[in-house]
Symmetry: C3
Subunit: 172 residues, 3 copies
């Protein structure tokens, strides 16, 4: 019954066509105490009992990570970056891997020139997660939309790559 | 004179009717070093001289708290949660209790399915405080609005419950 | 060729006239362990090996700073404040001075009464940097726009003053 109710409700949602659509990848290598040359992010805050070179127990709850990650147009870490993803995320659940992100994509290439600021919850247990575009400048002046995150790959705690598809529904 | 000026100015503001209105409660129990089983939030950063199991002196200035709080439809901590409030807040004044919040309401129930992302200043000394809806997904796709926070109750530093009324003025 | 392409592309951008325009200054004095009486901000999180009373090496990468800064209408630290800028910033690059800001301007004066919430990247190496207005309340109810930051002056790590010009393109 409830499922039927929900599904009926959801099918009633209006469907909109994006006015602009972008797919990007970004690459995060967390600092572990020994990889300073390659690391693109660092734990800067952690809960009681944890430290800054190893993600905390209990699904990393309470770890806050600052990042400056290269953005590429394809899924290759070694492709020429077209910008940087800068901001932070924090792990925010004690019994599952979920994170909360707030960051800016700073694009600086012949393709795109401008910034896209994003915020939202990232329950990494789901295949796709929607967060919100909260602001844009330059080519993305005043734009609004939704960004869908997919964990394209990860290697334990050492590396992850996010595919981010941004659908703008309000363009200027 | 000034008061007259302000009040004249404010009465000139246009009045709008929300296109959607929601009232929720969420419940925060901060980790104090001994309540790991019940705590829903944790201090993860603190100013020089403070620690992670006790809120800092000077109106907690500089404490940053990550939370994963249950959301209920009424003011009872033990009601069935309809979602989680996840994100962080920080105390940001040395001579008064004021906080700055940035978080997402993740609703997952027959009533609502989607996320509402919020940010803004929370001068807890005022009875009601307005923060901004900066993004929405799912049932709240592209919505914008204002959320009014009220401290519904608190027990020292051990527990607080916020009543949050969200008025959307832009629905899709 | 590329330059020509970019410049052609950028000149194609539409131009909009703001519906409201505000210029403000805010003043930040970071806590260094000895200036508690005057400090308006404090390092609350820092990367491995750094501390909370001195900005970190490597362009301060990983330092997170909570602030409660006075806002003035002119560039004089001692002018009567018309509000407070409250929130945080973090340094987020290892080889340049760039920061990421998320904060609220809380204005409380005969001129303005309300809040403006902002977020975005602040590559301080550039003369002007655009960040996004993500929300507004009171006189700025539901407003959206762009804020341009200029470092009006700085004295080493001890003091900086930002000039912030906010251009609203969506007023209510």
């Amino acid at each position: 019954m409830l499922l039927a109710l929900c599904s009926a409700k959801r099918s009633k949602r209006k469907h909109y066509t994006p006015c602009k659509n972008i797919v990007l990848y970004y690459h995060d290598i967390i600092y572990n105490g020994t990889n300073a040359a390659n690391a693109t992010s660092s734990i800067v805050a952690a809960p009681q009992g944890a430290n800054l070179t190893k993600l905390a127990p209990q699904f990393h709850f309470g770890d806050m990570i600052v990042f400056d990650d290269p953005i590429t147009l394809d899924n290759n870490l070694h492709s020429k970056p077209i910008g940087r993803a800068q901001g932070f995320y924090m792990y925010d659940t004690k019994n599952a891997y979920t994170a909360w992100f707030s960051f800016t994509l700073i694009l600086n290439s012949p393709y795109y020139e401008g910034t896209i600021t994003l915020a939202g919850a990232d329950p990494t247990i789901k295949t796709t997660r929607d967060i919100s575009v909260t602001g844009g400048t330059g080519d993305f002046f005043m734009h609004r939309g939704i960004a869908t995150l997919i964990t394209d790959t990860f290697q334990g705690d050492a590396y992850f790559r996010l595919r981010i598809e941004i659908k703008f529904y309000e363009c200027w």
